[in-house]
């Protein structure tokens, strides 16, 4: 396939990135990931359960040699916590491509952009390739780019809300101002939301809850896969201009 997603000089076949949280089981998660065709999955860094040694490990279900793990900083509310988490993630097995997410509010889960910006700069200097969860603010997106972000990942809507892309204009503005990979992260609810993101010119989408919590996660994983492909093809095909009045599709000459 020639139209690949490029992030930090790596190429990926799929433009759909999926989260691995909120599934009923690891087996269900692994199957949904497979059906989605995703090459990248986000993962969280947490304490090993020392009291239950038989608890299954994510790595036993999703092979990090076949699927790129993108460690995140979910649950971090300060730059210090986020840096600590990603430095540990790197230590697990050399991961440098990471998803930074510094939250500012427990209810709406919006990112704290001051802490996020600070963390992006430090991590980039340490050699991390930082894909940054951010709000849909073109000015902040520019600042993130200036301090070395590897991908801009604005929210569509609050994490897990399923509201879809609330500010398409801002996403379009960010698209037009940056050459960095632009990936919609958080807030998508259904497959068509992913198509809209791709038609706006985004390079990819990151989906977790919309697949994991769908009534049929496997079917929704496939729907998102197809939606991303459709949206990308539509974007590359060049849509027609919008006009206010009707234009006949059949020739007007020769009407009886």
């Amino acid at each position: 396939m020639r139209d690949k997603l490029k992030v930090a000089n790596k190429r990926f076949n799929s433009r759909l990135i999926v989260g691995t949280g909120k599934y009923n089981s690891m087996a269900e998660c692994a199957k949904a990931v497979k059906i989605s065709g995703a090459d990248i999955v986000t993962v969280a860094v947490r304490r090993v359960n020392i009291s239950d040694k038989k608890k299954p490990l994510l790595m036993d279900y999703i092979d990090p040699k076949k699927i790129t793990y993108l460690p995140n900083t979910a649950g971090c509310f300060t730059s210090e916590d986020a840096l600590r988490t990603l430095r540990l993630a790197r230590e697990i097995g050399g991961w440098k491509l990471v998803k930074l997410e510094v939250l500012g509010d427990k209810k709406n889960l919006f990112p704290d952009m001051v802490e996020t910006l600070k963390s992006t700069e430090i991590l980039s200097k340490e050699g991390f390739k930082v894909m940054v969860y951010c709000n849909d603010d073109p000015l902040m997106a520019k600042k993130l780019e200036n301090v070395g972000a590897s991908a801009i990942m604005p929210l569509a809507a609050p994490i897990g809300s399923g509201l879809g892309i609330l500010n398409q204009i801002n996403i379009k503005i960010i698209r037009n101002q940056t050459k960095l990979p632009l990936i919609i992260d958080a807030g998508l609810g259904q497959a068509s939301d992913a198509t809209i993101a791709m038609e706006l010119g985004c390079d990819g989408v990151l989906v977790n809850t919309a697949i994991a919590k769908a009534k049929k996660p496997y079917d929704m994983a496939l729907a998102f896969k197809n939606a991303v492909i459709a949206g990308r093809q539509s974007y590359l095909s060049g849509r027609i201009d919008k006009v206010l009045l009707g234009r006949p599709s059949s020739p007007t000459k020769g009407i009886i």
Partner: protein, 72 residues
């Protein structure tokens, strides 16, 4: 034979009693933790996994062992 002295440490937030001068390697082995799939912090400093046989634990050491789980 001299009785081995016991010390208290914190492993992933839980107090554990271990034999004095145990190494980090021994601790990890006792809990059957798969070393290649985790990262280790000793008193908030990341530990080089190659060094764990040399690191001897002392009273009140705080050890964190993390791995990847599902997340968005």
């Amino acid at each position: 034979m001299k009785k081995l002295k016991k010390i208290k440490i914190k492993l992933n937030g839980k107090t554990k009693t271990i034999v004095e001068k145990s190494t980090l390697y021994e601790l990890i082995n006792n809990f059957k933790i798969p070393i290649t799939k985790v990262a280790i912090e000793l008193n908030k400093k990341i530990v080089n996994k190659k060094e764990i046989k040399k690191i001897k634990l002392t009273t009140n050491d705080k050890i964190e062992i993390v791995h990847f789980i599902g997340g968005g």
